[in-house]
Each structure stands twice: as structure tokens, then as C-alpha cells.
Assembly symmetry: C3
């Protein structure tokens, strides 16, 4: 295992899906990258954005269809021990992680900045997001 | 926000899903990257390829299951204002964007080049796609 | 088409979904990258990990919901000719491909190393995976 180089690439995560299993997978990757000293830029679109509303972020968001009833139960139990929003908060503490809500998706879902949980840092467009995406761009 | 460097990496987008919400998200990212001066290579597989048939590209392709009935309605309304195929056409105008149909998926779905909308530039294999993938590879 | 540079970036694939269409798409990308001389690191999470259990890897894992009954039939027929696990085995023969099971997902699904097919090389954490992810990180 090679150590990450100084000034290694940032990681750009585009979150599209709003189910708890995908958001937990995303949070784990974001936290892992932040711990390795990478800057992490998270961009919230569509159903992921919907799950970051302040009145919904702590709700049960289910799992993808293929999880089935048993898989969804395992995900729900795991979220009760440590939720994906907690993992993201911890990643913000140990490293550099910025969460941006996609302006176009805000419009589509008729959401204002006030509707979002304070874990979201700002609202922004895709051009600004792309300008900072100097490393991997991962769509989840 | 740093400007993108001269000769910055291309963006390789593998489109797998054929629903309108995922294709719209993909088109927005592709257009954003093209506007920032990045070369964008789009590779169409499976259900995304199916949505690029010339007799299906302008149809309603629905949304992912988690969107629910209300989410699907919002996506459909948004597509009527500006469809993802229009966004891709505009991206081709402002920048360098190439759309390749995966040869293996063509065979699986029993599709010929003639069945595809002219927005698709060519049919190609995964080895050629990978040879050009010098930057991020994003699967949608 | 430019040839890949000596020492070009590795490809890091995070497999989340366990349906046959997504795993086949992942295997094709992995094999294509390995053939181009790239090191490929595959990280198995959630439902993808579940599909690598030794008593499940050769079963029918269905397709994503949007495939419909007809699409699922096409995928099943294709898997009978050449399964995604065969494509991954061949990629291991021609190039450098390593498959790691995510330790956190093992715990969630209550799976031990013994439950997994021998195609999986090891169990590891996300920090080690991220430390080696010097190139694209693709989530499938």
C-alpha cells in the first residue's frame, strides 16, 4: 500500500440516489478519502438532495429494490447505530469535505436553502463543481 | 475556484441506466465538463443504449423506483421543458463530446447502427473506450 | 486513439449492486482496463458482496427493475453464454486485477471470508482501498 502523495487529487462525489444504503456507501468513501488527506467535494442532485432536507435527513430512507425486505432491515439497523449523516459530520471534522446542493435540482424539487439541513454548505451550479473536479468523479 | 488547466483530463461517462432522471443528470455533467473545455466520451451500455434508439429517444423513459409517482411527474415536466437529448446536442455544439454505442450491448439488445438516433456518433468496443479514458470514468 | 502511457493510472471499481446486468457491465470495464495494462482494484460492498458468496455466485441474480421481464431474460441468456465471474477470472489471467471484500459490508451482512468465492482475494477496509486509488474511482 503506497501512501497518498502530497497534494493528491481531490475526490468529487455526485450523489443522485437517496436511499440509506447508497448514502451510507457514499459517506464511507467520502470519510475514507478525507482521512487520507484528500479534499472531498460532494454535489447533491435529485433524490439524494431530497434526503438532505432538514425535516427528512434523520428519517428512514429505505434501500434499493434489490436489497429486499431482509436487506432493508439490516440497513435500517445499521443506520440506527451510526447514520450516514453522522459519518459525513465526522469526515468534516477530520478532513476537508464540502457539500454543495445542485441549483438545478433545487429548482426541480422546489427546495430552498432554508429547507436543507445545515450539513449542506452551499448551493451551486454544475460548472463550478466541474471546475474543481481535478480528480475522480464518482456518481452514486 | 481554480480554472481548469490547459489540456486537463477528458471525462469518460459510461451510461448504463435509461431512465430520464439518470440520463438528465448525466447530460448536465457532460455539458458542464464540455463547457469547462474537457473532452467528453460517452459510452452507451444496456438500458441507456436502449433509450437512444431513434424511435424511443423522445419518449418518456420514467424515473428510478425511489422517485415515486410524484418524483416521476416532476422529471417528466422538466423533460418537456428541456430534454436530456437537447442538453447533449447543445454540449456537442459548445465543446467536444463524442457518443459511442457499446458493441457488446448492441449485440445483447439486438440493435443495429440504423436503429440508433443520429446523436450517436459510432459503435465501438470497451478496449478503445478504455484507451481514451485518461481521466475520470463515471458510471451512471 | 492514443496508447495508454506506461504506468498509467490504476482503475478502482466500487461494486455496490448485485444484479447480473450491473455486474456484467462492471466485469467488462474491469477486463477492458486490465487488457490495456491498468491495475484494477475491485472493492465489494453491500449487494455486490452478497453476489460473491460461494453458494450464490453462479446463481441468477436478476437485473435492475427498469430492465423489465424481457430485458432480464436477455441478461440471463447472456450470462449462460459467459458469466461475469468468468470475465473477471479471465481479466485476472491477462492483467492485474485484485478483488477486496469491504470489511464493513462483511459485518453488515454477517459474512465471513469462508462464505466467499475464492475469486475474492482478501478482506480490507476503505482506508486501504482509498490509499491505492490513484486513478478513477468508479461506483457501479
Amino acid at each position: 500500500m503506497e501512501p497518498p502523495m502530497e497534494g493528491s487529487d481531490s475526490l468529487s462525489l455526485v450523489l443522485f440516489s437517496g436511499t440509506d444504503d447508497k448514502l451510507a456507501a457514499a459517506a464511507i468513501l467520502a470519510a475514507g478519502a478525507a482521512m487520507m488527506g484528500r479534499r472531498v467535494n460532494v454535489f447533491l442532485q435529485y433524490w439524494a438532495l431530497d434526503s438532505f432536507r432538514k425535516d427528512r435527513i434523520h428519517r428512514d430512507h429505505g434501500a434499493v429494490p434489490e436489497a429486499g425486505a431482509e436487506g432493508a432491515r439490516l440497513v435500517e439497523r445499521s443506520e440506527k447505530k451510526q447514520s450516514w449523516s453522522d459519518v459525513l459530520l465526522q469526515a468534516k471534522d477530520v478532513g476537508e469535505l464540502r457539500i454543495t446542493a445542485c441549483a438545478k435540482s433545487m429548482e426541480l424539487l422546489d427546495i430552498t436553502k432554508d429547507d436543507l439541513d445545515p450539513i449542506v454548505d452551499e448551493v451551486g451550479g454544475v460548472a463550478a463543481f466541474m471546475a474543481e473536479a481535478t480528480g475522480p468523479i464518482t456518481f452514486i
